[in-house]
């Protein structure tokens, strides 16, 4: 870069002439710039990127429904939805999905017994109590925990939770069991519940807390009786999302809960979830177009619908919560 002075441009410049005449400017103003066309092209390209996400949804729905419909040609929808025997991988198997659903629901419910209290207490701790120094430890731990792949939690459930804890406390526990999977799923979703609930707690206006303190309430009373109720919808939304995640969780249950498709009533026995069945089937050879192959999509469709409804509910709650405080 050269820094030589431009001749004839002292600090106080004499009147200068603009490079363009009035006519030139007028002509430029009324012309259609070529940039305008390429701008529009770029706009379309970006919109196409956004549209791909719509296509993804359409693709998911189309694939699931198409194969599921074919499946319902082989097996009646009523037998599928209300049947209590699932022996899909046997010859002339039976396709009653209730055993898979019962295991899925039981694991999701038990996992919430871990995730809701722990997640909520951690959220309250981080938002209302923790000193910056403790925060600096707990926050990164939560982020790390959230980043641990589910296969690792599965390994942890199978090789630690079952042998080192459950079988010591409840001696009859099977090697593969619902409880170990549920505990691991619960730990896995703690960061989700904690971080979303903490956001909800942090969004509660200061004035509300001060109102509580002004009436002589202790810190705990303010936290549990003022802040938590005020943030309740945000907390509920985080729990609904966590339930949805637990329903769709795959590798933990595939590894730790086993593959015995039976109505799940004893958490210390083995059971197979919807996702667990999919993993078992795909780990072997499934012939494309067979009834088993199609049944996988029917189970997938059911899972997709359940989680979709849960996600929509959660979204709805969050949207309403935002309205309340914005």
């Amino acid at each position: 870069m050269t820094h030589r002075a431009v001749s004839g441009t002292p600090p106080m410049a004499p009147p200068m002439h603009h490079a363009r005449s009035d006519e030139e400017i007028a002509r430029a103003l009324t012309s259609t710039s070529s940039a305008r066309f390429s701008e529009r092209l770029i706009g379309y390209a970006l919109a196409a990127c956004g549209l791909l996400s719509v296509l993804t949804t359409v693709g998911i729905v189309a694939v699931l429904i198409e194969e599921a419909l074919q499946f319902f040609g082989d097996v009646s929808a009523v037998d599928f939805l209300f049947g209590t025997t699932w022996t899909a991988l046997f010859a002339n198997g039976s396709f009653g999905v209730l055993p898979l659903v019962s295991a899925t629901v039981l694991i999701a419910a038990l996992s919430m017994v871990v995730a809701i209290p722990v997640g909520l207490l951690v959220a309250i701790y981080l938002s209302e109590y923790a000193s910056p120094r403790v925060r600096a430890v707990v926050k990164p731990v939560m982020e790390l925990l959230a980043g641990v792949p589910t296969i690792v939690f599965g390994y942890f459930a199978l090789t630690f939770i079952t042998p080192s804890i459950l079988r010591k406390v409840v001696p009859g526990t099977e090697v593969f069991n619902v409880m170990a999977a549920a505990i691991a799923v619960g730990i896995m979703v703690v960061p989700l519940v904690a971080s979303l609930s903490e956001d909800a707690l942090a969004a509660v206006p200061r004035a509300l807390r001060e109102g509580g303190y002004g009436m002589g309430a202790t810190k705990m009373e303010v936290a549990t009786q003022v802040v938590v109720p005020a943030a309740l919808s945000g907390i509920v939304a985080s729990i609904v999302l966590a339930i949805s995640r637990a329903f769709g969780e795959t590798m933990i249950v595939a590894i730790a809960a086993g593959s015995k498709a039976q109505i799940a009533d004893d958490p210390f026995e083995s059971a197979q979830t919807m996702t667990g069945f999919m993993v078992q089937a795909f780990s072997g050879d499934v012939e494309t177009g067979s009834t088993v192959y199609k049944s996988l999509f029917a189970v997938g469709l059911l899972l997709f619908l359940i989680t979709l409804v849960l996600n929509l509910i959660s979204n709805r709650i969050v949207a309403r919560f935002r309205e309340a405080y914005d």
Binding site: T57, V122, Y125, F297
Partner: protein, 302 residues
């Protein structure tokens, strides 16, 4: 109460007498213990998880683990093929998902009109982020493997994974774009810049640290995913590293799953060693994200 009936002196005695507070104080202390316990539980869970895995897998941690091919004998088995598979699948995944994800985010934040349609698009994206990953596997199987006829190939896996992390990248990039101050856009528009010039020269560079951090988190997620690739056709046991887009492939978590599901203790310990490698890769990724964030924020501060 005495404060009502008595004079100033009885108020003073009330302030000094903590008897009525005693129950509340005890409850508050109990609550605090519960809070500590919850925090300790999560920190402890992560500690035990990493600790037991290290103890189990320590024996198999060596260079051989990374350079050996899979084998039916645990002492000779390694992650070579799976590591190559992960590198190639994830590389392609990023190649597809990053530009499209950032493009979609730019459309939503900078270009798209704020109307019902974009709202619907936004809702669609946030719902996609909540679809179970195994369902993406079914999508990949149905569309890429069967309908497009790509089979159980590397490219099927990468495309499936790209769709899986697309919503995560879009949402992260949107957050980063939202954080760019409007005054920067005004400055550029005021100089007669077009929308694209404004976006490309000023808005995007300012959003880069946020976009990259979000992308790395999304890619970390993809590296650890097993279910979608298991469904979309990753192999369980493979003796060759992938050579082309149509090759068979396996990935790190698939190999770990394969080892975990064998009954022999040796293979389970090998799985632990594999998990240590997987976690090390993820930790490395996160460190890179932190470095990028710091370097860029220093540069922008000027």
């Amino acid at each position: 109460m005495s404060a009502m009936s008595g004079g100033a002196d009885s108020v003073a005695t009330d302030l000094l007498d903590s008897t009525p507070m005693r129950g509340r104080v005890r409850r508050a202390r109990l609550f605090l213990i519960l809070l500590y316990a919850a925090a300790a539980f999560t920190v402890g869970a992560l500690g035990v998880l990493i600790g037991t895995t290290l103890i189990d897998g320590w024996r198999y941690l060596s260079l051989d683990l990374i350079t050996n091919l899979p084998s039916r004998r645990p002492e000779a088995a390694g992650l070579y093929v799976a590591l190559w598979g992960t590198v190639m699948v994830i590389g392609l995944t990023v190649l597809f998902a990053f530009p499209i994800g950032v493009g979609a985010a730019i459309y939503l934040e900078e270009y798209g009109p704020k109307n019902r349609l974009t709202k619907l698009l936004q809702l669609n994206i946030s719902n996609l982020a909540g679809v179970p990953s195994i369902v993406y596997g079914l999508l990949g199987l149905g569309i890429f493997a069967v309908w497009f006829g790509l089979g159980r190939s590397l490219i099927t896996g990468a495309l499936t994974m790209a769709l899986l992390i697309l919503p995560i990248i879009i949402i992260a990039a949107q957050e980063a774009l939202k954080a760019v101050p409007p005054s920067l856009r005004e400055a550029a528009y005021g100089l007669g810049a077009t929308k694209w010039q404004t976006t490309w020269h000023h808005v995007l560079p300012s959003a880069v640290p946020g976009i990259l951090t979000g992308t790395i988190l999304a890619v970390s997620r993809a590296i650890g995913e097993t279910a979608p690739l298991l469904v979309a056709g990753a192999s369980a046991f493979l003796l060759f590293k992938p050579t082309g887009l149509d090759s068979n492939y396996t990935v790190l978590p698939m190999q770990i799953y394969n080892w975990t599901s064998r009954p022999q203790q040796e293979f389970q310990d090998l799985a632990a060693a594999g998990i240590i490698v997987l976690l090390a890769v993820l930790l490395l990724m996160n460190s890179v994200a932190i470095i990028i964030r710091q370097r860029y924020s220093r540069k922008l501060r000027g």
